[in-house]
Symmetry: C3
Subunit: 379 residues, 3 copies
């Protein structure tokens, strides 16, 4: 795949200068870049690196003096990450899927697959499935009964899509994800120790000791999963089906690798849930929420629109819209920062407290009230 | 799949009233329910929703006035979640597997598979495997050498069962789980910095600086995994084989999505380990233990029967039976609640302490002992 | 697989004594060991167990009196875990793969596979792939465009290797891992609330409220993954490709189950990352670093050589070489130990502080300065 500097600039809506018909085959960091690379130096910090590579052309920060940098041509990117988005999309070679349906794929005759599909080896598509146009479905993917996927999906190898899943257009699923597992929902014939502990926050009652009545019976998940347009799911994610209603993921939301969503969870639009985030059953997350890696949320709570949670934040209770939170249990980020500072001082502070108490006692002991009263009387 | 109200009530052992021959095709939440749905309103809070849907029949709380709710028939569920278990099982359409062994499955001639099996496309079953009756094994599953699975198993797509795994009856495995990975067990020819740090709780000795002798050599896992009857494993779980003895999971225990069990771990009976729980090697967990999402346990510790751990609890040391724990490191739940409250007050408390100390000093300074002694003498 | 005691001793470079031609078929713990087992009792604590089994031969601690223990022969292991490594390797039956390429495997004609390969059913190998000699690749594995793997690899079932991945010799991948997923890298046309919150540590500015400009656009990952010799990856790991440069894992490093590495992460040599560790994008980890289970690291930080992190440690900032750390946020292990002790005392300490303050006030109230001054004047 070769592109001229001008082709790239035009595609990205950016300005180019110099020998814009120069052809590149790939993008590279400036240091060690080959002569057919587009070097990426959108920040003056990377300028020195250009001399340590053979790149003839580069993408630079706005206003950069490309000629002084010894380049033959340049593209200027005032918002570098946005330019990266367009550029990396242009240069992505894709999964290498052949057009059409691979001979080894097992597709139920009742399944309907739109035009322009590329379906790889060993794919299994069950009865009643409907898939839109231009599907790209890589090897070893399985899709359960009656699930529907919109147009232009890109499903990496080994993704497991269960039964009764409804997905919008432009869905991207990284490898190994499980969408539509049975929820973790069990019941005991009699009230369990856990139910009691939750009610009383700590006391399990007699159940803990008698060890009776705790054979768990499954509540099956019939509600499936509903996923809006432009959603992406990461590698090895797990998303449970809802019990009666669907588990829902709103338009534009992206889930990173190993994210886990329990049954009946609702995630709003344009959210980012980073690696290994876990959301327990029936919790509702608003729009534009961002949760850093390894965050967790308890079941049956609400996290408002525009909430931002720092890495490893554990959310046990509702969070109002717009709040920036951190810690376990989650509090406002600035509060957690103060708590963290205080924690480092805590061991010394406890010593000081003990000393102060001792000093106070030594001075005023059991008689202090009297003695001070006396000295007051003297005045 | 159509069921009359009476069929459902009879199957669940519940009372029904009204036009009990009314047929439903599925269950639904009351709001927006279709006319062929069984609406689920087992709590008076959901009663209003019935008017916002077309459901003619519903499952209601005990003693509900179904006629006043405008229904044609009703089933009464005194313990709603238990009723849900039976109902969702009745209405689950399953995986859509055809009877028999799919033509594409690769099954070693020495493997023995019981009667009534449904085995999907691209399944691989290795030499020496024995599987009981009525197995339902979905597409892309692989089963390693000499593993044994009891009757009535249900294995979702893409599950990886390793070699030398012994599993009881009625096993359910959600998609993508790995059962019987090699344990994370390595050794260095010389004592490593980690071993020293564990011994001394913090000081690595010279190893950290000399960077010698740390090429890790694998200890292979030969012990396999032993799993009792009625066990379920979630999507993308990972369970390591034991080194010499087996990693064990007791009867009736359920693991949620992305649970990780290290090598030689023993989990008792009827436990629930929620999403993303991780248990490090050789740790022993009792019966009826419940661990909330993202809990973790160190290696080589014991967690007693009936322990309940709140979400994200990290267990570093042994926990006695029956305890309800929370936090990192885990303490009794009520202790953690108090610590959490205290933490929020901590920054202010440290200020108060500093002020008090300053005030004390200002008043009594270095001479305070003397001056107070003097005033004592005055009395 | 039968081995004489002498064969094992010789292979492990250890001393043997007694009837060294005795043949064993497997290794076992002493209690309940069969008569054809090699009992493992490398510590005097296990000696009693030998009487509770039928083992005739055992591996013992150095200097053990094997005859007094009633054995016919013994091997002596001065460093037991090292002996376990060699022994378990000898006794591991492997994956049971047949020699050659299975008839069902789909291998692009442009792929090059070295001599001695065993490639299982339903494997997919894409165009441009190069694999060294003696590859053992189990069922359902897929390998993307132009990826290269060295000699003697062992890839368990269902591993997903993406495009443009370069892996050294003796690579071992446990089942279900995803190597080379697209990184979690998105950009909004306008600055997002998250970017603002990170800059200001808490204040999202107007973005949180206007809800504009937050449709995330993907930055594709073109850099692939580079993995050194002797690396192992656990079950269901996820490793993202780098954006422009590669995500890198150094020689000899081992990743446990469900480890997650974000895009552009660099992990040094001989590291151990335990179960469920997550490393966010572009973070750099030195050599010989050990991170306990469920540790996490923020993006764009450095963790120095020989750092050891206890379980569930969350690293938000750079860590100097050689440090042993614990807690969230990570601090020196001994500091965290002190903080943990202090935390348990905190609720009581806050009460004491309040009492002391009250007592101080009661005694010296608003007039204390004066009254004390007076009593001073009395002296």
């Amino acid at each position: 795949m070769r592109h001229t500097v001008q082709e790239i600039a035009t595609a990205l809506g950016l300005q180019a200068a110099g020998a814009v018909s120069f052809e590149i085959t790939h993008a590279a960091e400036p240091v060690g870049a080959a002569s057919d690379a587009l070097a990426l130096a959108m920040n003056p910090d990377y300028a020195d690196g250009l001399a340590q590579g053979d790149a003839q052309v580069a993408m630079l920060w706005e206003g950069a003096d490309w000629q002084a940098l010894g380049l033959q041509a340049a593209i200027f990117a005032p918002r570098p990450r946005l330019a990266m988005s367009g550029l990396t999309q242009m240069l992505d070679a894709g999964l290498g899927l052949d057009a059409g349906i691979h001979a080894t794929a097992v597709i139920d005759p009742t399944a309907v697959i739109g035009g322009g599909a590329s379906i790889g080896p060993f794919v299994v598509i069950n009865a009643g499935v409907v898939i839109g146009t231009n599907a790209r479905i890589a090897s070893h993917v399985s899709i359960g009964l009656n699930s529907r996927i919109g147009n232009d999906c890109l499903i990496h190898p080994g993704v497991r899509i269960g039964s009764n899943i409804r997905i919008g257009d432009r869905f991207i699923a990284q490898a190994g994800g499980v969408i539509g597992a049975d929820g973790f929902s069990f019941v005991t014939p009699e009230k369990s120790g856990v139910e009691k502990a939750r009610e009383t926050l700590g006391d399990q009652g007699d159940v803990a000791n008698d060890g009776q009545g705790q054979a768990w019976t499954r509540i099956h998940s019939l509600g499936g999963v509903e996923i809006g347009d432009d959603v992406e799911t990461g590698g090895n994610v797990t998303i449970d089906s809802g019990t009666i209603r669907a588990t829902r993921i709103g338009r534009g939301t992206k889930l990173d690798n190993q994210v886990h969503l329990g049954h009946n969870v609702q995630v709003g639009e344009d959210c980012l849930l980073c690696g290994q985030v876990g959301i327990a059953g029936s919790t509702k997350i608003g729009n534009r929420v961002v949760m850093g890696g390894q965050c967790g949320a308890s079941d049956n709570i609400f996290i408002g629109d525009d909430v931002v949670a720092g890495g490893a934040t554990k959310v046990f209770t509702n969070v109002p819209a717009g709040r920036v939170i951190l810690g376990s249990p989650a509090v406002k980020m600035e509060t957690q920062m103060e708590i963290n500072k205080s924690l480092r001082r805590l061991p010394r502070a406890l010593k000081q407290l003990a000393e102060l108490k001792a000093e106070f006692k030594a001075n005023f002991g059991p008689d202090v009230q009297k003695s001070v009263s006396k000295s007051d009387e003297n005045t």
